[in-house]
Subunit: 472 residues, 2 copies
């Protein structure tokens, strides 16, 4: 910390708030830093890291013109050296394999963590914050697990910890929740936040291919990882949902505290039956404030009315609907992943941190993350939610089957809205589809348990929840 | 300025940027103001003013929890007193008919201008800024005319001038362009930014009613003014486009510098023919950066592919597509008008200004507005744009007509993509619809001039431009 001169005795400038007269004010001297250049260190030079360095170096003039900030890439950490990337030339001595050259480097102002994973990222971010550096990260897994602790640490050290790129890539949903919708009680959030799943479901819907084939295709095209578990099982979407919920409701959840269901059970049959009924299947991350002040949190395949905006979000795109008490229904759409869209969000975060440095203030750390301990909002169990359902039973083609199932549903307060029964195709079983009116999940579970005891019902039903509030 | 104690000699707190070592830094003492409450004065207690006071008073705890800011409604100016509003109780002595009690009141920190119009709003905002007050406004007409000057004044007095609610109501498009997309060269903007026109076009599309009837209906429902000129002639959308262009390109345009065309010429016939061709008609505000670094600016009815997201923005809703160099295509959707959505944006601006006050810095005034004088970007004349066209000619039903028109178009480098000719309905004239490939507007004008000299062509053609880039 040596080298920073104290300002006592210097001429104070005209106060910026001249109307502060007669106010209950606390006055402190702070240092306004007007640096010729703000230095950025990047941990990780994979896809996003490359995109970030491209923007910072190739678009330096644009950024300076748009923001008044001069940014400089000082160090880039890549574990295995040497390396070069097309479309970008790093300054000499910039590339290193030692993260300490970033997180412990007194010349570096802002640390950008893009290595992913949890353990090393956690320790490097912690060290950077302790060294007084502002941090930008795209690491949703880390924040979903350690967000509360890291934000407390950032607050203690008066640095910002920005994470726009962690959820929905280039879409500024974090800033929107943190800043633009502050005057709103968030009533609900519906997010298509996993591009891999959305790409796969779109392909299944438009090309009629089945899950396994589209997964292979997505892997070949780079839309899915070699091990697709995190994506297709809904875990990635769930991690992002924890961040959105922390911002919207001040509740710090972990993904094992709510219902998470991926798309591995979605077959071409469900896609087609949904289409016949006027619906499209999307993997949604859903959060809702209930009337009794609890938060519903869930990730699952969802039937959306075909004509709704969210149902028409295709390919690897993301979209997040937020319904606020004042603003009403909103939707934000864009690319949720990829080199440049994610880098766009990371650089916006870097610029916000740089403004904090130039102004001598710490960025607005989400109040929500920090007010967690005081909050009285609790999670609503999946058993307590009320929603409409799509059900498909495979049943023996015999008189009275529909009546038996209908009776059991009725006894559990579940009312059927519509039924379709398909002709049998050379077997003695048929598919029986039902859309229900709104019902309570625990009633549905109990009813299904009883239905499964019927001899005429073969195997478990396909159950997909329906959301209509988002039909705009 | 009296009453603010100088900070010289006081103990400086630990500098927030401990890494400022060895830097080229300028140090100044500033006053950090930690006020128990930040006072807001509201000019105008119409629809939006009422919404703003409702949020500030009824949602005070929520705002404080979400932002850490304590806001207080100090004065509300309503020209004709007394008045009361359902759902809101103002503090005693809060309501006044004298704007000076807001703009000259040393107790008031943030002035919210919601009276609309230009002359009085301009003089009150000027006075407020000169008195060192931060200003929030929703007045797009004022900013479209005096934005450059007012932002310069705000910069001089180190106060913020926030205007999120001026464009697209509750949608945070201003903040997105100013902050989230700073790392992007904005390639194009396509906005449905006038709710009245979108409501009318949606009704014409869905209910098959004609312009005059839907206008009466919109007026009865409060979606259109008694004098709808500003809306239906595209002027309101054009004013909003000037703000978006100022932010995206640093060019300060006035609405008479570009092509502005409303929806008054859109008949039920065009709606239906467009539908047959797979398109929907929307009033779009369009800005594009051309390859030779000029800005295309135009407002006109536009054919959009039926399945695109923008084509499915219905009713009085707004949506803005922004295509950025890094982030790619994005879309922002929400309510563009109305008491609470607009108030949501105004209050977000108030909170941003309040943060500036608490931090002792002025809010980020758009660099774009201020860098105007240096910019080299000029406006591209409508004659120079290239786009696809929908044309409908009314022609005499006689052999050779299509060939004559086709020849003239061909001679002007305009290539026809598809043609539909309708059977005559008891008259000797028929409608001849054409979609062209991309063509230059000045060629189209010249071709049409020549086509109109053909004896077989009756009256002017209906011409609607087509946008396909936004087909996501």
């Amino acid at each position: 910390m040596n080298g920073v001169q104290e300002v006592a005795g210097s001429n104070p400038v005209a106060p910026i708030c001249p109307f502060a007269v007669n106010k209950n004010i606390r006055k402190e001297a702070v240092v306004v830093v007007d640096k010729s250049c703000i230095n950025v260190g990047i941990l990780g030079w994979g896809t996003v890291g490359t995109g970030v360095s491209k923007i910072l170096i190739n678009q330096n003039t644009l950024i300076s013109k748009n923001s008044g900030i001069q940014l400089c890439v000082k160090k880039v950490v890549k574990r295995t050296l040497p390396a070069s990337r097309e479309g970008i030339e790093l300054p000499a001595d910039c590339l290193t394999s030692d993260p300490a050259e970033v997180v412990d480097n007194p010349e570096i102002d802002i640390v950008v963590e893009l290595i992913g994973g949890i353990s090393e990222a956690h320790s490097l971010i912690t060290r950077a914050i302790q060294n007084g550096k502002h941090v930008v990260t795209a690491n949703k897994a880390l924040l979903a697990e350690h967000g509360g602790e890291l934000f407390q640490l950032a607050k203690k050290h008066q640095v910002s910890l920005n994470f726009e790129a962690s959820t929905a890539g280039g879409i500024p949903i974090i800033k929107t929740l943190q800043e633009s919708f502050t005057a709103n009680q968030i009533q609900s959030i519906y997010g298509i936040v996993n591009g891999t799943c959305n790409y796969m479901l779109t392909e299944m819907n438009e090309r009629g291919v089945d899950f396994a084939d589209v997964l292979t295709d997505a892997q070949e095209k780079g839309f899915a990882e070699a091990d697709p578990t995190l994506d297709v099982e809904g875990i990635d979407a769930a991690q992002k949902l924890t961040l959105l919920i922390a911002l919207a409701y001040g509740v710090n959840l972990s993904v094992d505290q709510f219902h998470v269901e991926g798309i591995t059970d979605i077959s071409q049959q469900e896609i087609q039956y949904a289409h016949e009924l006027g619906y499209v299947i999307k993997l949604l991350a859903i959060a809702k404030l209930t009337d009794d002040n609890r938060v519903e949190a869930r990730v699952h395949p969802t039937l959306l009315p075909e004509r709704s905006l969210l149902a028409n979000v295709g390919g690897a795109f993301n979209a997040v609907c937020v319904i606020g008490s004042a603003v009403g229904p909103t939707l934000f759409y864009g690319q949720g992943a990829g080199e440049m869209p994610t880098a766009s969000a990371v650089v916006a975060d870097i610029i916000d941190a740089a403004k904090s440095i130039q102004w001598g203030v710490s960025s607005p750390i989400s109040q929500a993350w920090l007010s967690n301990s005081e909050t009285e909002i609790t999670v609503c169990s999946i058993d307590d939610i009320e929603t409409r359902y799509y059900l498909r039973f495979v049943v023996i083609d015999r008189p009275g089957v529909l009546a038996s199932i209908g009776n059991i549903l009725g006894n559990h307060n579940i009312s059927i809205a519509s039924v379709i029964q398909k002709e049998p195709h050379g077997t003695d079983t048929v598919s029986l589809m039902m859309l229900t009116h709104k019902a309570r999940e625990k009633n549905m579970k109990a009813a299904l348990k009883q239905i499964y005891t019927l001899e005429v019902v073969k195997g478990d039903a396909k159950l997909i929840r329906i959301e209509e509030e988002v039909a705009f």
